[in-house]
Symmetry: C2
Subunit: 389 residues, 2 copies
Amino acid sequence: MPFAAAEYRERLAKTKRRMREEGLDALFVTDPANMNYLSGYDGWSFYVHQGLVVTLDHDQPVWIGREMDANGAKATVWLDHENIRHYTDEYVHSPVGKHPMDVVATLVEELGFDDRTIGLEMDAYYFTAKSYQRLQQNLPEAEFDDATLLVGETRLVKTDRELELIQQAARISEAAMQAGIDTIDEGVMESTAAAEIYHTLISGTEEFGGDYPSIVPLMPSGEHTGTPHLTWSDAKFEQGDPVIIELAGCRHRYHSPMARTVSVGEPPKAMRETAEVVVEGLNATLDFVRPGVTAEEVERVWREFIAKHGLEKESRIGYSMGLGYPPDWGEHTASLRPGDQTVLEPNMTFHMIPGIWNDDFGVEISETFVVTKDGAEAFADFPRELFVK
Amino acid sequence: MPFAAAEYRERLAKTKRRMREEGLDALFVTDPANMNYLSGYDGWSFYVHQGLVVTLDHDQPVWIGREMDANGAKATVWLDHENIRHYTDEYVHSPVGKHPMDVVATLVEELGFDDRTIGLEMDAYYFTAKSYQRLQQNLPEAEFDDATLLVGETRLVKTDRELELIQQAARISEAAMQAGIDTIDEGVMESTAAAEIYHTLISGTEEFGGDYPSIVPLMPSGEHTGTPHLTWSDAKFEQGDPVIIELAGCRHRYHSPMARTVSVGEPPKAMRETAEVVVEGLNATLDFVRPGVTAEEVERVWREFIAKHGLEKESRIGYSMGLGYPPDWGEHTASLRPGDQTVLEPNMTFHMIPGIWNDDFGVEISETFVVTKDGAEAFADFPRELFVK
């Protein structure tokens, strides 16, 4: 396991403190990142229903999932095996209306929490509307509260071991970014560049291999730099194309995302100038980061910096991140944007991804950083500049 | 776009026929595969809320998603741009309680369907409990019905163009499986083998590159062959390890999954014998497939075959598949298992993945096949045997 059992127990204790503050007797954890955080569970099984039942009265959470994945749980969690339960395959995409939440409800009853207040991750990816409906039907005496971000908020401040894994992920990010920059060139297919990046993300460094990232490498090019979430195709890079590469190395599910911009061939003067503004703005904004400032104050530094250049950007410029599963490595708690009054503390980790777009091209240059005791430190060591191929 | 607009219109017409049969006036489609099927939309944006609103009165569905992804929609869908709507970034992980479904509800009102019967994909991955709750609150006059599988059922029978894409995906699967078998050996790290497989999945063949598969390559080895959904680590393959490789090439989001089993070093006699049983059983079961038989009859052939060898397998041995996004390439409709009375028709496509496990090892050998007019045809052309390294 990537962490000592004591670290998982400390996480559980923090979670229980938050549950008490929120008046929750139990919590049903379905976000795979939260499941991993509390139990260590790591498997590609989130395509079927699964979760952890945490109660204030039980020392350990109970893992519940599909029968064939209970073995995977035994291999990856710190919990006693009596706290690993399963439902049989007849509950998987059942043609006769059976649902895994029927079995979860039975477990909640067995634990004696069917008439108590239960937190649910109402807006987590894999907790469906149907799951909620079934729990309501099966547990009519329970009171349900929204606890979507409860565990996520306990994840904001990282331990030294977590930072070490993000540091390792950053080594992989650097190597993968270099592979992408080395491969991209006029006439090269986008899929070829994606293949080289992927190869490096998984083979990793001399010392360790990489895990699959929660988001595939994105590399919008040409006019598509304004469509950041389209994935690669067999189109070939052309002379004059701007290409934005966004990727993340991953180590034991901890990420260190990074974005850089490449110009295929000599860029127009305006692009060089824009890149300089992005780099200077990123540097100035990172320089401002320290414990005690708020997330929105950090964003304001960027916004005021680019305003001096007559520019505006609407969306947030960063978010808290770390442990994650597809489809996202973000934690969905703090964001660097107006209105977010999260006070930064040492060992919080963010991906700051500012960018500027105009009609012809976009430039993004990003860093993942940790808040230190008196500033911020980027995990990756990779030139902050526009790359020209 | 991978399909002509006429094909998307035909899909929409089929969907509307099913909506009429189910008494639905409108349908909110959130499963990314269903969104792609009806609109062509393809982007890694399912980590934020998005969907298509289909109504019986409107010629085209309306795409709705995050502002920065609306450009991606314009680049990938066949719809008129007036049918591409967005919500702003303040609705993304809002710290003040704004939710994208508030904007979806406003759209439904604008379309005049706020007091009608609306189908929802209640058990689809990215339709959260919170989304459902918000739609209920915002549309108090609407009646909501569960339509989780409505679009999926229209996807069961493939067109020739869809089969062509699965065929291309199978070419990639063959190459990637060969890369995995070539790489796996005593002392090689699992992550190294995963990297080679990934490289081939994305670089594809001489003629075309590959898309990202909806599930990462899985390669449980040794005692982990009983934990099918654990992903790779830096552990090294050891002499005597059985390794099950399950992967899928992907082309324009269409998959052709395949599993093979490798023995690192000379396998024990029992493993060779088990592999022979799996291959013979797979062949016999595939031979039985033809239009008119039911999904459960297909499974029965396998079950009766292995019963002759004194063996039992509890879970289903296959499922309908094709177009997909993470976390799954399965369609969640028909399964090859007891109780599933789906009648097989020409151009349905399934992944048949039978396996036998004992205490020391497991053997899985699978094929993705299409039901033809008088039988079944596997997409991949790859030896059905136990590979020895």
